[in-house]
């Protein structure tokens, strides 16, 4: 952490400055600040946070919920874990501000099953904040602002990072995405309006209120304001979690982490896209190479078809199995990669698989299936020569 650049999340700051300001603001003022900051969801989809809160605030229902999506399951992402262990107060502060903004009295942290070890820590922070008047009844002596938070455990399903599947799981059902619309901001947990945001989004929202929208919006390009946490792994000298301004190029990031030799970078984890060296000038921003934080660096020696297979094996297991394109499509793509590896995939069939990938992007029920073919499609597109050269190599290895 720490790059010499300006940090939003890890700077020295007055604790709960954002919350103290927020309790003196109207709901509309809070939402306006978040909107003006340009803050977009840090989980990967990049939905404008202010708009989401606004929808939830407008929904007519005495019961509303705030849910922190801490089901960090995207392969190659580990930045929420850092926030939860080192900046749990900031995350809870953001949740409390969100509750104030939308009118919720109850919230949950939906914690990834593998992060069970963080549960005690989070519950202790929640307890301490309650004792300090930062959670519970009459927060900061405002008279009437009540917000409670409980930690709920996930059980290891990747799909539960999808907000409607997360809500199903939270309700005690099998984690499977719902049809949308209606969206959770209208019909969420137990049918009530629910704002589901990523861990990092809540933390940043707290800072937005503390520092002001302008200070936040000054960082990064207009489409993607503020800083972003990147979880960097793979073939680089300094893997780890970096807070960097949005909009920096892949090449710049690679310099930062000591991965200049890379032949490709997977931006956005298994569901993201594979960017080849020729495109390293692309920017890490919502309107270019978008990521929820995962950056996986592939050095020159990596077999890209094997990379693709690894991702497809993941989706073949992690599709929730509900809709046809995702359940069976990922399986067919995986089989296709195995055919390519064995050198028995015709060009015509490869074309068919690419078309199938497009169908999955268009026709799957949720973001999982809609993005699962991305890695396959981009690897096939950018590393066609490497892949097609492969049968000969396999033949050589066999003989």
């Amino acid at each position: 952490m720490g790059t010499g650049r300006e940090s939003i999340l890890f700077r020295e700051a007055e604790p709960d400055e954002g919350l103290r300001k927020a309790v003196g603001m109207t709901r509309l003022e809070i939402i306006s600040q978040v909107r003006e900051s340009g803050l977009r969801g840090r989980g990967g989809a990049g939905f404008p946070t202010g708009s989401k809160w606004n929808f939830a605030a407008l929904a007519q229902d005495p019961l509303k919920y705030v849910v922190c999506n801490a089901d960090e399951g995207e392969p190659g992402t580990f930045k929420d874990r850092v926030l939860l262990s080192e900046r749990a107060d900031l995350v809870l502060e953001g949740m409390t501000i969100a509750a104030r903004a939308i009118g919720a009295r109850e919230g949950f942290i939906y914690l990834r099953g593998e992060y069970e070890y963080l549960r005690g820590h989070l519950e202790a922070v929640i307890r301490r904040r309650g004792e300090a008047g930062l959670l519970g009844d009459d927060i900061l002596g405002t008279g009437g602002f009540t917000f409670r938070v409980a930690v709920r455990m996930g059980a290891g399903a990747y799909v539960c990072g999808e907000e409607t599947a997360l809500i199903e799981s939270l309700e005690g059902h099998r984690g499977e995405p719902r049809n949308r619309p209606p969206f959770p901001v209208n019909t969420g947990f137990l049918g009530h309006p629910t704002a589901v945001n990523n861990v990092e989004t809540f933390a940043l929202a707290a800072r937005v209120i503390a520092l002001g929208a302008e200070a936040f919006a000054r960082i990064g390009p207009a489409s993607s304001t503020g800083t972003k946490l990147f979880s960097v792994s793979g073939d680089c000298a300094r893997p780890g979690v970096y807070e960097l301004p949005m909009g920096l190029s892949i090449a710049e990031l690679l310099r930062e982490v000591g991965g200049e030799e890379a032949k490709a970078v997977q931006v956005g984890g298994a569901s993201g896209t594979c960017v080849p060296r020729a495109q390293f000038s692309r920017r890490l921003a919502f309107d270019d190479a978008s990521t929820g934080g995962s950056i996986i660096v592939f050095g020159p020696g990596r077999d890209m078809l094997r990379v693709a297979r690894n991702f497809m094996e993941f989706f073949d297991e992690e599709s929730c199995g509900q809709c046809t394109p995702c359940r069976q499509g990922n399986h067919v793509l995986l089989e296709g990669i195995r055919k390519l590896e064995a050198g028995v995939c015709s060009m015509a069939y490869l074309q068919e698989l690419r078309a199938l990938g497009e169908t999955m992007q268009l026709a799957s029920k949720c973001g999982l299936g809609q993005s699962s073919p991305n890695a396959f499609l981009s690897i096939v597109e950018h590393f066609k020569d490497e892949i097609l050269a492969r049968p000969a190599r396999v033949q050589a290895e066999l003989s």
Binding site: R178, N179, G321, Q322, G329, N330
Partner: protein, 643 residues
């Protein structure tokens, strides 16, 4: 939409992902009942706010193919066959699950849509072990039809031929062949939403996803009530009934066997559908001819024992009322529940075993028939009961389980040897080259051919109640039921509302007719009482009523409640022709009620054959010693947890 066709969101334990979702929007608040404009393929239509794209398209006559969608079930939007392009949206949307809340422009067959649908179908075919020739759904399979509609000529992504699952034949009623499952989850939604049983659920993830019972136990070992509603809604051959046709043919061909068949009222109102007739075409008398052509030795009418059931069950009710009202016995198990639906009976045994005393001890008409055939009929004709084979033509999958209950052998033999469904009989007819709708008429055989309209209406929800009331009211009040209800048609208990309730004040009482004199001296104790009755069909509705009784609500004050396991009653039974829908069931019900009107005798206690049976065989009268031995039974508290 009538209430029968929709699930009960207030009681269902189904995940929200599988429930109809209430759309809260700003527009919806101000514009309740408002219409929204939709443009589909260039045609404009206005639909109520919240209607789905599929509903709008159907209104315009635009066909959108579907698979996981079913008229009886909440939308799931998971097969994705029905995807369409919505202007302004990147992704395609499932038209069955997309509520229209603002003006939309939709295109249903662009290149994107066609390619996606073909891919989706190719994917479904790649995981389906398609053995069309040897599948009972050949030519009545929605997957097969879709393949034809989409012009599939190759298995683009391969075809699975190796089996991954063993065919589960553990249940007397339902056979599961999961290699043919396409994971549309209609069975899951049927079991949990429509029936509130919930033995089926999607398990595992990704391409390993499968529909399983609890811990993948055999269906015969879980809390399945055998209603077979899942079969009626399965689009493929993954679910079917346990078919006894081969064994029946063998026994028909055996000259030493005397094979008799009883036919329930619901199949005759529906079997025509298997031969291209419109739903609601009754083929009662053509079917009699066809059964004789098949080689059955006698063709009887289950309505005869339906009338007998009314006498026994009605007597039992009067005796319970006597205990409660005349003797002030608080232990009298009221309300009395009907027991003729074996799906309902097993539901109660699993989920409300503490209420078993409330179930009428009277056997179902099917089982009464078996017992009478193998005793009285055998005696009359000098036949060895061991050589009599009784087949029961039923609209029901659960009847197969019922006839195999160990306690159903009071004749000294298995009372009913086989439960045969409407679908299976239609198949036997086809195999025998019988063109059912064109056959000449013939009547039932005596002595059990005479029935009343009361027996016929057992086939529709509310029918048992109506038949019972026709008899009880008349027996008690001493006046023709027609004086109270035009044409003896007790309209308030008819229809498809999930739960119906009726109060009948008893203002006058009449003399006790001879049949009941051994039991009571007078009806004076009923004078001024108000008979409270209710009707529920589909076990989800039964659950509502039972939960109300448990909570001491108004249904706890009832005297008599008719429960049917299947939505619509027997006409919607799990052995009836596929497909089913609210409209199809309504048409079948119309056939049933028109047949009732055609009967000269319409009240069970006036059935001369029944009176003759009491006069010559069951001489100690209704609920007497012999009828208790042959016509009544007991139940098993099963509980909801399996060992």
């Amino acid at each position: 939409m009538n209430t029968e066709s929709r699930m009960n969101p207030d009681t269902s334990r189904a995940p929200v992902a599988q429930k109809p979702q209430v759309v809260h929007t700003r527009a919806a608040e101000g514009d309740v009942g408002a219409l929204v404009r939709v443009n589909i393929d260039g045609q404009e239509v206005k639909v109520p706010l919240g209607a789905t794209i599929l509903e709008a398209a159907r209104r315009l006559g635009v066909r959108i193919p579907t698979l996981c969608h079913h008229a009886d079930l909440c939308s799931a939007g998971l097969c994705r066959v029905c995807v369409v392009e919505v202007e302004g949206q990147r992704a395609l949307q499932a038209s069955c699950a997309y509520p229209i809340t603002s003006p939309l422009t939709i295109r249903t067959h662009t290149r994107k849509v066609r390619q996606a649908r073909r891919h989706i179908l190719d994917l479904l075919l790649s995981e389906h072990v398609g053995e069309c020739y040897t599948c009972f759904r050949n030519n009545n399979c929605e997957l097969q039809s879709l393949a034809k509609e989409m012009g599939v000529t190759e298995f683009r992504f391969g075809q699975r031929t190796e089996r991954r699952h063993r065919v589960d034949r553990s249940s007397h009623s339902v056979v599961r062949d999961m290699d043919k499952c396409v994971l549309c989850r209609r069975c899951v939604r049927t079991c949990i939403d429509l029936q509130e049983v919930g033995v089926l659920e999607a398990c595992h993830r990704g391409s390993a996803t499968a529909i399983e019972t609890f811990r993948d136990k055999p269906l015969g070992e879980v809390v399945c009530i055998n209603c077979g509603q899942c079969i009626n809604r399965c689009p493929t051959g993954a679910l079917r009934a346990n078919d006894p046709a081969e064994q029946i043919w063998r026994l028909i061909d055996d000259p030493t066997k005397h094979v008799v068949i009883q036919t329930a009222p619901a199949p005759r109102a529906a079997i025509g559908e298997c031969f291209g007739c419109e739903p609601g075409t009754p083929l009662t008398f053509e079917m009699n001819t066809a059964l004789r052509l098949c080689g059955f030795d006698r063709v009887f009418d289950t309505n005869f024992t339906a009338d007998l059931t009314i006498i026994e069950e009605g007597t039992e009710l009067l005796l319970r009322l006597h205990r409660a009202l005349a003797q002030g016995d608080r232990e009298a198990a009221l309300p009395q529940f009907t027991s003729c639906s074996p799906g309902w009976v097993k539901y109660l045994e699993h989920f409300y075993p503490q209420y078993i005393p409330n179930l009428s001890s009277a056997k179902s008409p099917q089982q009464m028939f078996g017992a009478v055939i193998k005793t009285w009929y055998a005696q009359l004709h000098g036949l060895d009961p061991a050589n009599i084979v009784t087949v029961a033509l039923m609209p029901c999958a659960a009847k197969k389980f019922e006839c195999n209950r160990p306690e159903m052998a009071d004749s000294g033999q298995k009372d009913v040897d086989f439960g045969l469904t409407t679908r299976e009989l239609a198949q036997m007819f086809m195999e025998a080259g019988i063109d059912l709708p064109r056959l000449p008429h013939s009547d039932f055989d005596d002595p059990f051919g005479t029935a009343t309209g009361s027996g016929v209406i057992f086939g529709a929800t509310g029918g048992v109640m109506e038949a019972a009331l026709r008899t009880v009211v008349e027996v008690v009040c001493g006046i023709p039921v027609e004086n109270l209800f035009d044409h003896a048609e007790i309209i308030p208990v008819r229809g498809f509302d999930g739960i119906r309730y009726l109060e009948l004040p008893i203002r006058e009482v009449g003399p006790v007719i001879p049949m009941f004199r051994p039991l009571v001296d007078s009806w004076a104790w009923l004078k001024g009482a108000t008979l409270k009755v209710a009707v529920a069909h589909g076990t989800a509705n039964a659950k509502k009523v039972m939960d109300d009784i448990v909570a001491g609500g108004r249904f706890a004050e009832c005297h008599f409640i008719e429960f049917m396991g299947c939505p619509g009653g027997c006409i919607g039974g799990g052995g009836q022709p596929i497909p089913t829908s609210p409209e199809i069931r309504a048409a079948r019900a119309r056939a049933i009620y028109s047949e009732d009107r055609a009967y000269k005798v319409r009240k069970s206690h006036e059935n001369p054959a029944v009176l003759d049976l009491y006069a010559r065989f069951l001489t100690d009268g209704p609920c007497g010693h012999l009828s208790h031995k042959l016509l009544h039974t007991h139940y098993t508290a099963r509980g909801r947890y399996m060992a």
